[in-house]
């Protein structure tokens, strides 16, 4: 085989793939941005109700989930570092840890939501329409925003599971890792949203 045949031109543009991922992230940021806007307007209108409702949430669970997400954000960044250094084994371990953290986050969320649902507090329950407008708005926004965020966690997990197997099969390697890069970017986005969601939902009084 001639030397020419080995060096086939690859039709690849990592810069463009990344830019595309970023454009998608912009739409996600503005999607959540719109929800944060709705939250701030109603919070300005019903400050006492929002404060009272936020006391119903467990700051401990929220804080644990924050730590879990920040940690997983670091491990996914480390997975990228590992693959750049051609350390497949470490990359797999780091993606594994990230996936474990994601599952832990959802596990916590399950108990948090479960606790509310047990008390009859969930969208469409008999209790919700009996609440006054401020409380109703807070809990509707709480379920919608954390729910949409949890959906993003699941999407991010799916993406990282794909990356895990591609790293394993060496389809993602130290020469071609843009998919892992984009998967990591998505995971950081999920973390980024939570950075604002946590203080606004759980802490602000």
């Amino acid at each position: 085989m001639s030397e020419k045949a080995i060096h086939v031109e690859e039709h690849r543009d990592d810069e463009a793939s990344k830019l595309g991922m970023w454009l998608f992230i912009f739409t996600e940021l503005l999607l959540f941005g719109g929800l944060f806007l709705v939250y701030s307007i109603f919070r300005a209108q019903y400050p006492t109700e929002f404060h009272q409702s936020s006391l119903e949430l467990s700051v401990t669970i929220g804080a644990i989930n924050t730590v879990v997400l920040l940690f997983s954000s670091m491990t996914v960044a480390m997975a990228l570092t590992a693959i750049q250094k051609n350390d497949q084994k470490r990359a797999l371990i780091f993606i594994g840890i990230t996936l474990f953290c994601a599952a832990a986050f959802l596990f916590n969320k399950y108990f948090e939501w479960g606790h509310k649902i047990e008390h009859g507090l969930y969208p469409g329950s008999d209790l919700m329409p009996l609440l006054d407008r401020g409380h109703l708005l807070y809990f509707s926004l709480y379920f919608f925003m954390t729910g949409l965020h949890a959906l993003h966690i699941i999407i991010g997990m799916t993406l990282l599971i794909v990356c895990y197997f591609k790293v394993k099969s060496k389809n993602i390697n130290d020469h071609d890792y843009v998919l892992l890069e984009n998967g990591a970017l998505y995971w950081h986005l999920v973390d980024l949203i939570w950075i604002f969601l946590f203080p606004l939902m759980y802490l602000i009084s």
Binding site: L29, S40, A63, F71, S73, A184, F198, L203, S205
Partner: protein, 94 residues
């Protein structure tokens, strides 16, 4: 390989960033447990802004990306702030 322009960030740097992020998280929890009135929101949002800056620039590698991309990301946040301001002005003067 010419196609990979990403800078490699060392494990040590990444763990340092995590420590700062965790520290800021506990500062937020600490600050909001004192009742500072309207300042609580401001402080919490400022810290969240700082945290997101750290995540964007380090974890998301923006520090090492092209100027075009950095400007684009900054514009998204500027756009959001403008939207919030305009909406609040609308509500305030109704």
């Amino acid at each position: 390989m010419a196609n990979n322009t990403t800078h490699t960030i060392e494990y040590r740097t990444l763990s340092k960033i995590l420590l700062v992020l965790l520290f800021l998280t506990f500062v937020t929890i600490g600050v909001t447990s004192f009742h500072l009135g309207p300042f609580t929101v401001t402080v919490a949002l400022l810290i969240a802004g700082l945290k997101s800056f750290l995540v964007l620039s380090n974890f998301m590698h923006l520090k090492y990306e092209s100027l075009l991309l950095r400007i684009l990301v900054a514009m998204v946040f500027v756009l959001f702030v403008v939207i919030v301001l305009i909406t609040f002005i609308d509500y305030a003067y109704r």
